[in-house]
């Protein structure tokens, strides 16, 4: 009953989004502001409607309504309530609804802003947002209904939206339970973060399309959506980092990133989004690259749709899976349609998007930003090609292949290194003009510093060529960024007569985007230290030992002390927990407790590592195998992951940097008011 009600609300929401689309077009074409206003209100209505739908779904999840297929698939009686709530995005139907719900929240937020000066853009923003929403809600309504119920007919038990003739409702005793891998706290926040990032990129895209349709091809849309874009980027980046941390803590393979297609699906919009964040600055400062920025935001939007689709369906496993799934071709159709129509609009407005100024120097900041874009897009090509190549291979040759980490690492490594180099040079080059001489005057000091740091690393830490190049670039970027900070603060200190801390503070406060950006650069370098460490210096060993025996790796020694196994019946989990004493150079450091959790409802194992984390390295131990009855001892796998903690440290700094960059600025409104008044005064004088 309640499930049918939920489906009804969902269907009404679908109709409301369609109405909004038509009202926006009709109102705009017939010049009826009331109609556009009606479209706006209809869009505002989607959020309460979807919230109600989601509320019903959550109610069903929490109260064990296993007659609902989705509830049956993702929950079980033994799961705690908070996990039942988050099981909402633990399956395809629910996560599509989650997507739409977030999208409606963002769309409502956008419509609530003051539209006075940008009234002409409004109907088109509504149009784009509502078409996107209608597509996702339509997926739920017609193909992936989260409210479908299980019915028993004479032949089988099947899920249907409406009760088939001669059938009775079927309620299983217990659900299948959420995949244990998804029961980790990291998994509770990682998907919402990622989806927030995905969804909020729709807003800048909607404004870009509105700008193209109305012919307002100045950079107004970019200025309007600048903060949106930054927040979108924040969520997406943080979603990616959380995903990495989750993998590190839960998946038990000693790493955080495995170049899995699903990871890459989330990484691709991040690449174009990052390129976009940089290249819009060229348009703002120099009035160039308008076509390119449009293209980047279109790509980001379509990669978001593509990514949502990839992360939620098993299509990548085989071409056949893709053809069999109902939503696969529809998703591809939607991506193709939006891509073609958006690019069509760019071509239609081609002439009015021409550059206002010319490129003057190959070393100017805009030229370096373009090179940065080339690198990001090249990494995108590597990722995209790697993801779709297995499908292409199967389609054309019938041969199934895997594209694993070696390809991605080899192909993106030099591109990432070049990006780091650009990250070091670009902040020192000027907009418009820059010559070898002017650049050389500023760059030699940080370069010299980086050479010294690298020499020290060479002498004390490593002789690995890749590591040396990597650490040089890290040192170079960090020194350039600090040098930039110092130069700015120094200048302020002299001109404003402030002390050094005040001038640092004010410098950042006055130009948040720039200095927030620099903090992000610094944080990326800390992350790079972690990535270099784990990628180049990770060591591992595996062995089977009896109690009292030990395994050694690097300068660690792990002595197997004891093991225990017990059932936790209320939560339906069997625990196997080993205790190991850790020694480093014969000095006792503490204990590690790797464990294996077996979930009875979903019949899956989860391997939780024992970790000991320092800034120098992580000791990471997995219990691979142990049978209570056998005398074979326990098998452990041990990793030493050097420097990996810098990755997580970097991501915290990253968060700080992006919040500084995206923080709302107070000065914006008063300045505009002043500008208007000024104009009024002059016109009055005239």
């Amino acid at each position: 009953m309640l499930a049918n009600f939920g489906y009804g609300i969902l269907f009404i929401t679908f109709l409301v989004t369609l109405y909004s689309v038509f009202a926006a077009i009709y109102g705009e074409s017939k010049k009826m502001p009331a109609m556009v206003e009606s479209a706006r209100r209809a869009m505002l209505l989607t959020w309460p409607l979807l919230t109600l739908t989601a509320g019903i779904l959550i109610y069903l999840l929490v109260n064990n309504h296993f007659e609902v297929q989705f509830v049956y698939e993702v929950t079980s009686r033994s799961m705690p309530t908070y996990l039942k709530v988050t099981a909402w995005w633990g399956g395809q139907a629910g996560s599509l609804l989650f997507w739409s719900w977030l999208m409606s929240a963002f769309a409502s937020l956008v419509t609530l802003r003051k539209w006075d000066r940008d009234r002409e853009l409004l109907p088109w923003v509504i149009l784009v947002a509502c078409i996107t929403m209608a597509f996702f809600i339509g997926m739920n309504v017609f193909f992936e209904n989260p409210f479908a119920q299980l019915y028993q007919t004479s032949t089988a038990i099947e899920a249907h939206t409406f009760q088939p003739a001669n059938s009775i409702l079927f309620t299983p005793q217990d659900g299948r339970g959420l995949n244990p891998l998804l029961r980790h706290p990291g998994m509770v926040i990682h998907p919402p973060m990622l989806y927030l990032g995905f969804v909020s990129f729709v807003i800048p895209y909607a404004f870009a399309m509105a700008a193209l349709i109305t012919g307002r091809t100045d950079d107004r849309w970019i200025r309007l959506t600048r903060r949106w874009t930054l927040w979108a980027w924040l969520f997406l980046s943080f979603g990616l980092v959380l995903g990495g941390r989750w993998a590190y803590d839960v998946l038990g393979w000693g790493g955080y990133w495995g170049w899995d297609p699903v990871e890459i699906a989330a990484f691709m919009p991040w690449l174009t989004g990052t390129a976009f964040l940089h290249s819009v600055m060229i348009q703002e400062k120099r009035g160039m690259l308008k076509h390119w920025n449009m293209l980047l935001i279109i790509l980001t939007y379509d990669l978001v749709i593509f990514g949502t689709f990839l992360t939620r369906s098993g299509v990548l496993s085989s071409v056949h899976a893709f053809a069999q799934s109902a939503i696969g071709p529809l998703f591809m159709g939607f991506v193709a349609l939006t891509l073609v129509s958006s690019v069509g609009l760019i071509i239609y407005r081609w002439d009015s998007l021409r550059s206002e100024t010319e490129m003057t120097s190959l070393l100017s900041r805009e030229a370096l930003f373009l090179l940065n874009n080339l690198m990001f897009i090249s990494i995108l090509v590597v990722c995209f090609w790697g993801v779709i190549f297995p499908l292409i291979s199967e389609l054309f040759t019938g041969q199934k292949v895997t594209v694993g980490p070696p390809f991605y690492e080899r192909a993106t490594g030099p591109l990432f290194a070049t990006l780091m180099l650009l990250m070091g040079i670009a902040p020192l080059s000027a907009w418009g003009h820059s010559t070898v001489k002017t650049l050389g005057q500023t760059i030699w000091k940080p370069t010299a510093g980086a050479v010294i740091v690298t020499a020290i690393i060479f002498a004390t830490y490593t002789r690995n060529v890749y590591a040396i190049i990597g650490f040089f670039l890290v040192a170079f970027v960090i020194l350039v960024t600090l040098y930039e900070y110092w130069r700015g603060a120094n200048a302020r200190q002299k001109s404003q007569n402030e002390n050094i801390f005040t001038s640092f503070w004010n410098l950042t406060g006055r130009n948040r985007r720039r200095y927030g950006g620099y903090i992000i650069h610094l944080s990326m370098m800390l992350m790079a230290i972690g990535i270099l460490g784990i990628e180049l210096f990770q060591v591992e060993t595996q062995g089977t030992v009896q109690q009292g025996e030990s395994l050694s790796l690097a300068n660690y020694e792990l002595r197997y002390k004891e093991i225990a196994q017990w059932d936790d019946l209320p939560s339906g989990v069997n625990y196997r927990r080993a205790v190991l004493d850790v020694y480093q150079d014969d000095q006792y450091l503490g204990q590690l407790v790797p464990r294996i959790d077996y979930y009875y409802d979903s019949q899956q194992n989860m391997t939780i590592p024992g970790q000991r984390s320092t800034m120098k390295d992580d000791l990471y131990v997995l219990l691979v195998d142990w049978e209570p009855a056998s005398a074979a001892g326990a098998t452990f796998k041990i990793y030493v992951n050097p420097l990996v903690n810098w990755l997580w440290l970097g991501s915290l700094l990253f968060l700080a940097g992006i919040i500084i960059a995206a923080w709302p600025e107070r000065e914006l409104e008063p300045v505009i008011v002043r500008a208007n008044r000024h104009v009024q005064q002059t016109s009055a004088a005239d």
Partner: protein, 178 residues
């Protein structure tokens, strides 16, 4: 005692003592180096059972034939454990790394390898795309630096007469803000 196994060892030792300090140093370094290499090179256990690390070194390069995108060395399923045991068995029988990989490809298809067998196809596309992008960018630089100068000039000429002081002021204010 050592004389029995190494009859010439005494001579070597006397020569070593006679040599100059630098030669001694060089010789010592050489010995340590050789020793280090011997220790560092993985040696198969004498009893014929290869260690887990030797198995994992090969399993790492293979993908689980059933689970999606999971390397064989970390795959927790029972099936994968049996496949790892198979690798161990083959190593014990003296099979080489290439032979083991070949065996897996023959039985489970090329998707067990972490890279497609024909590497050229997969690497050529990103390289070509990068070169194309670089070329477009290079052409872009050339174009931007020349003809647009005249165009922007003409825009300015056109713009001036229509511009009224109101808009000009506004523009100026806005520019100052940036």
């Amino acid at each position: 005692m050592s004389m029995i196994f190494f009859p010439k060892s005494k001579k070597i030792i006397t020569n070593y003592c006679k040599a100059s300090l630098w030669d001694q140093l060089l010789l010592t370094m050489l010995c340590i180096f050789t020793l280090a290499i011997t220790i560092a090179t993985p040696v198969f256990a004498q009893d014929g059972t290869p260690t887990d690390d030797e198995v994992n070194r090969i399993a790492k390069q293979l993908y689980c034939p059933v689970c999606e995108s999971t390397p064989l060395d970390v795959c927790p399923t029972e099936a994968c454990r049996q496949w790892r045991d198979l690798i161990r068995e083959m190593l014990a029988r003296g099979k080489s790394e290439a032979e083991i990989k070949q065996y897996f490809v023959e039985h489970y298809g090329p998707q067990v390898l972490n890279e497609p067998p024909n590497r050229l196809v997969i690497y050529i596309v990103p390289i070509a795309a990068f070169l194309l992008g670089a070329f477009i960018l290079f052409r872009g630089f050339q174009v931007w630096r020349k003809p647009i100068t005249t165009e922007s000039g003409s825009v300015k000429k056109e713009a001036k007469p229509v511009q009224d002081p109101y808009i000009a002021k506004l523009e100026e204010e806005l520019k100052r803000r940036n």
